[in-house]
Point group: none
Chain length 192, copies 4
DNA sequence: CATGAATGAGATTTCATTCAT
DNA sequence: CATGAATGAAATCTCATTCAT
């Protein structure tokens, strides 16, 4: 009983995510956003009260997807679980980059944004605990090197996920390569 | 009675580099820049004609330092050379992050900026050729795995350099760890 | 199945009056107005074509009430009439404040508004004539001081009506006090 | 050693005061302000960080002038002091109207504005104490009526100050009339 | 040279009003 | 009728850049 919607909330967040990935937080303008959507700039304010809320909502959505994808991961055998984690984060490849913008958001601008950021923090903490436990378990099972501190091994793992796939290798295969390199290294086993 | 020199070009570029690293290209403002220096905002225009020129000059300087540091690397034995490269880029840790800003610079704003960006491109190409040759030589010497495409091994190597050093391990030691993980992987050799 | 009536014209004007008194003309927004009513903002346009018309209609209503209340006042004995006028304006306490908004209304926006404003002007003029005549009669009857120009005495009288009743004295009593002070002054009669 | 100033801070506050008096807080726009000054709208931000700061500073200035004018008033004989107060507030006729805007200012917008508003509150409290004491002393000296509560007498006095001077009577004479009416009332003494 | 001051272009946000169901 | 949704105009504010001393 009103005009047809110019765009849905979900389309708005999709466009937001694309812009945040392409231009970063400071390069994210509502002008660009509205140009990616079929509507006027002011229409965006029918959905969110300000810029901060939009970005926070976008990040929250990604966090929710990530948490959901990691559901039940601890039931798997440690090394398989780690490989699964790699695949999850590869598919949600925006996760790390998006989360970088979190500290730039002005929390005082909006209560809704503040609550979303809180959710993000809790989600982050939960994920960290869960994944740390996973790597711990893997090491206790003797699957990981003991001569290098576990946090370093973990940090390298999570950072490796974001390696740019210049050759556009298909995701599955790319995951295999990354895991293979992280697990066995790039050196020739015959010469080691 | 002449006014005292406000700040040197070099101080200006140092501050620029710090700001670019801390806030990214879009968060880089001349206002913030002048606040980090001992002079007025308008004085900046005595050195550079616009924002773009400053960023381009800053990136050019880093590129020059990098090229110089890599001078003669090809004389070393391949694996030692690769380890040296790791250390060089670790010390010039800003390199990758800084270069990310390059495509954001509006080349139409300034000829000088355009020339600097061209220099950057050439430098990038030269470096790439040189380092690709290095890894090629290493593989031909049988030092690298053959079952994973060389560009992937290289990409993972260069991306691993930027792994955040959360534990603040001293650089030398950190370099050893990163190289060790890249070379041998994180899996326990006993279980492989 | 007809939608239920959202709100009446009268409710709309009541809310308008409240908002005008609380926030003044420039602080009067249709958004706030619709929030005070049980309907959508766009429904307001079923009753009035624009903001100006609403305010003008609201002011006209108050003017009509005031004129009606003053009906027949000239039949009373002058001083009693003046006291009655005081009570009338105290009860229609919004009158003066509301009328202040009149010059702010953009007459070009609406014909209906323009006509209401004309009515206001005429009403104002009529009231003024009537009340001036009243004070004139009182002075001719020797009831008012002759050493101060009548318009000044009148102005002070009408302005005194709006004295804020901080102590929340009941209206009747408050009217007595105001009239007493206006009539006899605040000085101690024994020392005069 | 720079361009000539487009306008001084004092001119800015003068224009602000005029606009606030003519249009009220909600009708106070920076566009109108800049049009009254010989400069661009953005230049205003070289003086004050936001709208709130401007209004707060303007009100603070008026409060300072008022406090200064009331300096030493308590040394006078009570009735003479009250008459002096009338003259002071008549000359600073904007005082009451300006202060009405205070509660509309958003204190969270600026620290500077918040501090100015605090100053205003303190000033208000001080003035109130001082003037209340004055009227108290006058009543104790038997100069004021005892049959009407003192706060009412005071309220009527301070409200009467703002009586619009439609006839444009010169200030001194106007003060005499207002005081005369407040003190002796408008009724004819012969008939009382 | 160095800089205080001025400013236009562009970003965010609000709100009266129109549109379409 | 009633209204949810859309939107342009206008307001606030920021910042790169120019000007004039």
């Amino acid at each position: 009983m009103a005009r047809q919607r110019a765009f849905t909330k979900s389309e708005l967040l999709d466009a937001t995510e694309r812009l945040l990935m392409e231009r970063g937080y400071d390069g994210f303008h509502l002008k660009a956003l509205s140009e990616m959507l079929s509507g006027a700039r002011s229409t965006i304010y029918e959905y969110y009260a300000n810029k901060e809320e939009i970005v926070a909502a976008c990040m929250r959505r990604t966090m929710e997807q990530t948490i959901e994808a990691c559901e039940g991961i601890e039931q798997l055998e440690p090394v398989a679980a780690i490989k699964k984690v790699l695949l999850i984060f590869l598919e949600l490849s925006n996760f790390h980059t998006l989360m970088l913008a979190a500290p730039k958001i002005d929390e005082t601008a909006s209560d809704k944004a503040r609550r979303d950021l809180e959710f993000l923090n809790e989600g982050h903490a939960d994920l960290k605990k869960k994944l740390t436990a996973l790597f711990q378990k893997a090491q206790e099972a003797g699957a990981l090197r003991a001569d290098i501190p576990l946090p370093v091994i973990t940090a390298v793992f999570f950072h490796a996920i974001d390696t740019p796939n210049w050759l556009n290798v298909p995701t599955e295969e790319w995951a295999d390569m990354l895991f293979g390199l992280w697990w066995n290294g790039g050196g020739n086993p015959l010469t080691k």
